[in-house]
């Protein structure tokens, strides 16, 4: 059985600047990650990791990013992710950093993890929120995702990626 195995790395872009979220693009992020790999692992590392490197999924509202790379070089990629310090897009630099959430072999496992993670994040937001309207909003979305689970246990829950 010979096939190319990939690893999918789920990360979250964290930034203090609120404008950064709107300017997250897949090309800018890909360039930033490649730049970090070049700095940390040199030409050899860049060539190794770029064989099958793409940004598979990007959610600008939550800052969730899914990167793909080969199984042989995912360690090089993961070790270079903390060195991504800023995102450049449209001639603007935003300082940010990437949090690695999960590394999986398929997109499906990453999606399952993301759904669980977003549910826990919603709960945590509910505890921390100060505004009454925000509280209502979050409670509504929490109820909607748990209700959907009871009613129909087929793919409805997967549409619920938890937007803020």
């Amino acid at each position: 059985m010979v096939r190319f195995k990939n690893r999918y790395v789920l990360c979250e872009v964290v930034s203090e600047d609120p404008r950064c979220r709107q300017c997250i693009e897949d090309r800018a992020l890909g360039l930033a990650v490649r730049d970090a790999i070049t700095r940390v692992h040199g030409d050899y590392g860049l060539a190794c990791c770029s064989i099958s490197f793409t940004v598979k999924y990007l959610n600008a509202y939550t800052g969730t990013v899914l990167l793909r790379c080969r199984k042989d070089s995912y360690r090089l990629l993961c070790s270079a992710l903390p060195f991504v310090r800023c995102l450049e897009s449209r001639a603007q630099r935003y300082p940010c950093f990437l949090n690695t959430l999960h590394v999986g072999g398929t997109i499906r496992t990453c999606q399952k993890f993301l759904i669980q993670y977003n549910r826990t994040q919603l709960l945590r937001l509910l505890q921390n929120c100060t505004n009454e309207e925000e509280r209502q909003c979050i409670q509504k979305s929490l109820l909607s995702c748990s209700l959907t689970e009871e009613q129909s246990q087929s793919g409805d829950e997967e549409e619920d990626d938890g937007t803020e």
């Binding site: 790999i37 070049t38 700095r39 940390v40 692992h41 040199g42 030409d43 050899y44 590392g45 070790s79």
Partner: protein
């Protein structure tokens, strides 16, 4: 031992080490540049040196030196004469040992 043919000014020991680290940094990045490499001896006349590196780093070092092409904008090449885990083995060719 490494030998590097050159045209003009010869590097001294510190510049030689700088050259090795630069080669590692270009090919293997910061991780490669952080590899502990020691220059045990260096002869400026013949431009040959004995380098010491941890055995897991031999591949990185050798590949980085092979791919280094320029020193101060002049072409140069590294030639590896001998590698061995023992320093004593570098002093002579054991096949021609006369007992």
């Amino acid at each position: 031992r490494r030998e590097l043919p050159d045209g003009g000014a010869r590097p001294n020991a510190a510049q030689f080490k700088q050259l090795v680290v630069t080669a590692l940094r270009e090919l293997h990045g910061e991780v490669g540049a952080a590899l502990p490499v020691d220059v045990l001896t260096y002869e400026e006349k013949t431009l040959s040196a004995i380098l010491r590196v941890i055995s897991s780093g031999l591949v990185k070092l050798w590949s980085a030196l092979t791919l280094l092409g320029f020193y101060q904008n002049r072409r140069c090449a590294f030639r590896v004469l001998q590698t061995s885990p023992f320093l004593l083995a570098l002093s002579g060719n054991s096949r021609e040992l006369v007992l």
